[in-house]
């Protein structure tokens, strides 16, 4: 059974400033009998093709006591399979002038390759092979686990603010497994076994839990034939796919924490608020625009007040939208001699201003233009188009959002920004982490 459908090309976002139109991502969609969803986007301008396989399993699905497991598993997917020895993916990509990588998100895990287009069939075969089964051995499992432990040191322990971002994740959710940082911990990584790997693959790595996206240089009929040939034989298990059902409760009060770490040159403050789900567009899209107004570009409100105002040396604001409730986060790393309390006060004043007074037409348009230009940059490559579609599918449950999302951004009004700022960032309760060097720890005081 083939269900082909061509996306409507009607949703073309227009930049308010001039006649720039964002070319929509024109994709085709079909579903194989075993449940695998297939999206394809043809672009024959360069002889390369991007192959993405997105699995609907992420860090939120880490087994109990195994934080970091989904990410460790992602690494193991590059080891041996039924028909491929370890690292063969590199032979099929890097060795022929392409590349591969993978990313573990909270809600999904994306595997992707970009290769000269004459290798498309080879890579479809390879992705199908590792979707089928892994045959990892003890030696390469342990060695790769050591690599992930080094990645943990590299990302969390070595950078002076690594532990702040780690703590922000841990402290921001009360119940939802999003509270476990995707990189995990050394102890939990050490506890992982090959048996865990096998169980995880058979539970989550199956055609009805995956999306195949092919973008770039291909001939449609040929692609469809190869997809049928290599993916159709993969059986759809009868078992149900377990899904996280934990509901994050609303925050009833503000939570304040002081975190100490070695080697912190300047203090910092991080604040988070809960956001609606990414696919609750009426509120989520304006929150995304609000984050842009607050911190994107040197003329944004927080950059002007905090960084140009010489309170902080760096400031970020981000609407980290997820499949379930996400986080609106603001982080400021202080400038020399400045205290986190000063930054927090300014941040709160800026949020209050954004909620009280409508943003001007010019400032709103500026934010929209920045978002639009950044979407254009993502669409420069086939790989970027693959990411746009994958994210739309996972977070918005709708590939069409890759195009419609830009139109939704254009439609955001000043009143929308005011409303969501008030609802989520003023009435919502923040988690506030003050991050200080160990030397600031009160003697004998336990935090």
């Amino acid at each position: 059974m083939r269900l082909a459908r061509i996306a409507l090309l009607l949703l073309i976002a227009t930049a308010a400033s001039a006649a720039t139109t964002i070319p929509p991502i024109a994709y085709k969609h079909r579903v194989l009998p075993n449940g695998l969803e297939v999206y394809s986007v043809q672009d024959r301008s360069t002889p390369t093709v991007a192959i993405h396989v997105w699995y609907r399993v992420g860090s939120k699905d880490d087994p109990q006591g195994r934080s970091g497991f989904a990410h460790l598993f992602e690494h193991i997917m590059f080891k041996s399979t039924k028909n491929m020895p370890a690292e063969m993916m590199d032979r099929l990509t890097e060795d022929v002038g392409g590349f591969n990588n993978a990313t573990t998100f909270d809600d999904s895990t994306a595997y992707y390759e970009v290769v000269p287009s004459n290798y498309l069939e080879t890579l479809l075969w390879a992705e199908a092979d590792r979707m089928g089964a892994l045959t990892v051995d003890e030696g390469s499992f342990k060695s790769e686990r050591d690599v992930v432990k080094e990645e943990y040191r590299y990302r969390v322990l070595a950078p002076p603010y690594g532990k702040l971002f780690y703590a922000l994740v841990e402290q921001s959710f009360a119940a939802h497994p999003y509270k476990r940082p995707g990189i995990g911990s050394i102890e939990d990584l050490d506890a992982a076994t090959i048996a865990d790997v096998k169980a995880f693959h058979s539970t989550f790595y199956r055609p009805d839990n995956a999306v195949l996206i092919v973008a770039g240089d291909f001939e449609q009929q040929q692609l469809d034939g190869w997809v049928d040939k290599y993916f159709t034989p993969i059986a759809r298990p009868a078992t149900e796919i377990p899904r996280v059902s934990v509901q994050e409760p609303p925050r009833t009060e503000e939570k304040r924490i002081t975190e100490y770490a070695a080697n912190v040159p300047f203090p910092a403050v991080g604040m988070t608020w809960l956001t609606p789900r990414a696919r609750d567009h009426a509120d989520a899209v304006p929150l995304f625009v609000a984050a842009t107004i607050l911190a994107e570009g040197n003329s944004s409100r927080l950059q002007e007040k905090l960084v140009r105002g010489e309170i902080a040396q760096e400031a970020f604001a981000d609407a980290d939208l997820k499949e379930d409730l996400g986080l609106f986060g603001i982080v400021a790393i202080m400038g020399s001699g400045k205290q986190p309390a000063e930054a927090e006060k300014l941040i709160r004043a800026e949020l209050a201003a954004l909620a009280e007074k409508p943003v001007s037409a010019a400032e709103l348009e500026k934010a929209k233009n920045l978002i639009l230009t950044s979407a254009l940059r993502e669409r420069e490559t086939s790989n970027g188009k693959g990411f746009s579609l994958g994210e739309a599918l996972i977070l918005h449950h709708d590939a069409a959002f890759a195009n419609a999302g830009l139109a939704r951004v254009q439609a955001v009004t000043a009143a929308d920004v005011q409303r969501v700022t008030k609802k989520y960032l003023i009435e919502g309760k923040p988690v506030v982490i003050t991050y200080l060097d160990e030397s600031a720890k009160p003697a004998g005081g336990a935090q």
Binding site: L92, F266, N298, E310
Partner: protein, 491 residues
Amino acid sequence: MKRTVLSLLFAASLSAQVAPPPPAAPREAKLPQPVEKTLANGLRVIVVPKHDIPLVAARLLIKAGGAADPADREGLASLTATVLTQGTKTKSAEQIARDVEALGATLTSDAGWDSTSVNLSVMSSNLTAAMAYVADVARNATFAKDELERERAQAIDSLQVALTEPRPVAGMVASRLIFGDAPYGHNLGGTPVSLGKIGRTDLVQFHATHYRPDNAVLVLAGDVKAEDAFKLAESQFGAWKSSSRRVDESTSRRVAESTSSSKTRRLEDSKPRVVVIDMPESGQAAVVVGRQGIRRTDPAYLTAQVANSVLGAGYSSRLNQEIRIKRGLSYGAGSSFEPRVDVGPFTAGTETKHESAAEVAGIVVGEMSQLSAAAVPEAELTPRKAALIGGFAQSLETTSGIVTRVSSLALYGLPLSDINRYVSGVQAVTAADVQKFAASNLGGKDVNVVVAGDASKFVEPLRKQFGEVEVIKPEELDLSSPTLRVRKAKR
């Protein structure tokens, strides 16, 4: 060290296993074709049209960077570039940021070693409006005192942060070991002390000396027609006059002297050092191995790229194979040549837990030597060349990637047609070329080794491997001195 490469890939091999389907015939890639014109004032304008996405990337390249920093003003080029966008004769820093961002554009400027770049990325419909800001900051920056103070404070703060991290610390120390007191030896961004010495006059003078049309190149790539780009360049930069001052003599003399002296040093004075920066509280150790590399115009440039592709560029290069894939000692290991106007650095490095730092340093040095000890087998050389060519092709898929490639050719005075010769040039490099090149450029003996991390966990095994090891505490470290140590007599 023996290495095996899976060469049986596309043959049906192991018993129960199925071989992958072989590739089809490749399709030829179309390379971007630059067109150029030089304005009457000497500004060279290069355009690479590419119309698939309504986006343009542009760079105004000034042919002067950190190598031109006076010895007692380390970080001057970098600070000049930072303050450049913070106000002109007619517009304040806030206005510039607001106007540029209203167009959805990003405008940045930063200094490299041999050049300074003012970069623009903008949707094509807003190109004309946005280019006016590139021209305004390049031509009319005022370097106001309060803007300088603000940027200086910011730069010092971010240096303080970098100095707590093993990776940047090891990199800065390696530059000093490789180049001594030659211009490439200092930290590009300066040090907290050197930044403190820079005054407004220094910035104004650096700008007047180097930012001039006959010392600049404007590169545009993306959704713009060549003739429109030339017209735009003429309207925004046509009236830009070169100041009467020629390139500051003291600066040019300094570069010239260092050019000859670095040759000398390379032959006679290259006593390599092994230095440990003791950072007991850091979360991981950083290892950097470095030595002098090549000039960008060296005829062996492509051979160096191929040698490095085998050794340390890309996931499947030898360093990553040995350190990450085989031993699980790091998240990643790699190396690079950074060819410049003068001889640039070669560095190889990785991060690992403190306990394995000495082992990893030994592996890096061993792999460098191995490249000259034995010819690279064809079964390994072919995929490493393919990886290099693939990376080249990928870099030309985006407007900013094209601008970077083309600017680099222009900066080093190389023909733009080199873009068309890259693939065949890489293909022509032989295993014998690589081995010969490695013998004189990648020897494992005359290398500097830097490890930043908890010295107590690796200093003994490091001594066993390398002999003399200098241990420096962060508070004793002076990045402005070739000795790397603060002189205690002063102050």
